[in-house]
Amino acid sequence: MTILGAIQPMLTSGLDGDNAWRLEHYLKRGGYSALKKVLAEKISPDEIIGEVKKSGLRGRGGAGFPTGLKWSFMPRDYQGNKYVVCNSDEGEPGTFKDRDILRYNPHSVIEGMAIAGYAMGASCGYNYIHGEIWEIYKRFEEALDEARSAGLLGANILGSGFDFDLFAHHGYGAYICGEETALLESIEGKKGQPRYKPPFPANFGLYGKPTTINNTETFASIPWIVNLGGDAFLNAGKPNNGGTKIFSISGHVNKPGNYEIPLGTPFSTLLEMAGGMRGGRRLKACIPGGSSSPVVPGDVMMQCTMDYDSIAKAGSMLGSGAVIIIDETVCMVKALERLSYFYYEESCGQCTPCREGTSWLYKIVHRIENGNGREDDLELLESITGNIMGRTICALGDAAALPVQSFVKHFRDEFIYHIEQKKCLVPVDIQRAGSGFFSALS
């Protein structure tokens, strides 16, 4: 993972060498000191949750919900099993940070989950890892074995009387399983179809027991917060946007990859860290928070800082921190066509507005892209998105609608040109050059 943070990065520090993921290496760089501290000093669960609240840590999976608050929803006096579940399903196009956390720093997730288990009175956890990263799933299982053999997982951890065990569960190709209740269904051995909420997982989660689900990066941030305190974490970012965050940069930059930076860092700095625009071309647009976040025109993006509030002000969402960089070689109709196809493919089919709506969105964008668009198609797109949003069980419906609305809003001229002229505003040979694939041939 490329690390060029302005401050000492937290999640990715000390990660050099092929064996950085191993327990031995993690211990050498101070790993498990947070868990040991919690257990040795018998820090109270309330105090831990208080620190996490103070840190301003917001969920790194996409919704940005305050983590400390979420943890406080877990029932205290519940008799019986409770669960903590890690969401490493990472299927949001553009996002690939959790893979690298698990690849290079799996023990930070294990430690974070164990502390979460302690704070919420859960003695069992699962990490749901998407099926496409099989090698990393295997590695995580090996890391779990290491932790178990060292007495850092299992019964009576380090003689403290606290029991916590953790297992890996793999997905097998379904984006929707990233939605937290679909993920629970999937662990239960069913189709990954989201549940109605309420009841929320804190009351009715895995196997009907109280459950808290957090993203991989969220859990990986916990040891740092426990070691250095909520205030220090908060101060590493900016108010209401605590900590550092890993951004996955893909698309038209010279050095795509993961970059850990303090929240509040200017977008232009991040772009520079990623080697700048490929071929020195112009930034046409940026999707700042994964494919489900509204697209932002390049010039607006250049004025943003990378944090929840600034990106929201620009009309989009920080989401999972997946920054998709789009340059002037791209036909925005074609780009939207591909995204719409994705949501159409991945809709679980439970709600009519999502199942039918994603299919219509794709068909209409597809016909516009292929020169068969009709005069009123843009209005039709707007009306369909309006009829999906807020009318579905889970947020995939909105996720399918938001890109359509924002693409049409910001790049309306390209859509109109397509409908009227039956071709792309961006010449085809320029588009072809954009990816750089064929230039490697000549």
């Binding site: 998407h130 099989w134 051995g189 990954g192 996955s248 494919s291 490697a440």
Partner: protein, 157 residues
Amino acid sequence: MLTTESLQRIDREIEKYPADQKQSAVMAALAIAQEERGWLSNETIEFVANYLGMAPIAAYEVASFYSMYDLNPVGKYKLTVCTNLPCMLSGGVDAAEYLKAKLGIGFNETTVDGKFTLKEGECMGACGDAPVMLVSNRRMCSCMGPEQIDRLLAELE
């Protein structure tokens, strides 16, 4: 129906879950069965369901819901290429076109010699390494330009 080794692997998966929640192991069990048999026939799915004490239809629902299970025979190697937008920007679609031309097949087709099946994939959580492809669900290949694709095809015997 499955080898002892596969059954032992499935048993280890079952142990991860509460004793009354064996069904939780169905995803792993189907993946293990597919690894051994190449694809999931109705008989294989039924066998897995019975092994886990669940209704065959419930196992079939799982097998048909998740895209990495193959409910029809595939070639010796299944190549799944990600063509989603982030990869597309860096050659994912071009890589798929290149493979189609080289292998003389389209998506969801198998070469006549039964060696390769080509599939279109969605985001695999590796977009920084585009073009990205998966070999038979297990091995991820990154930064697959034309030269790297040529080398991969030559290496897969």
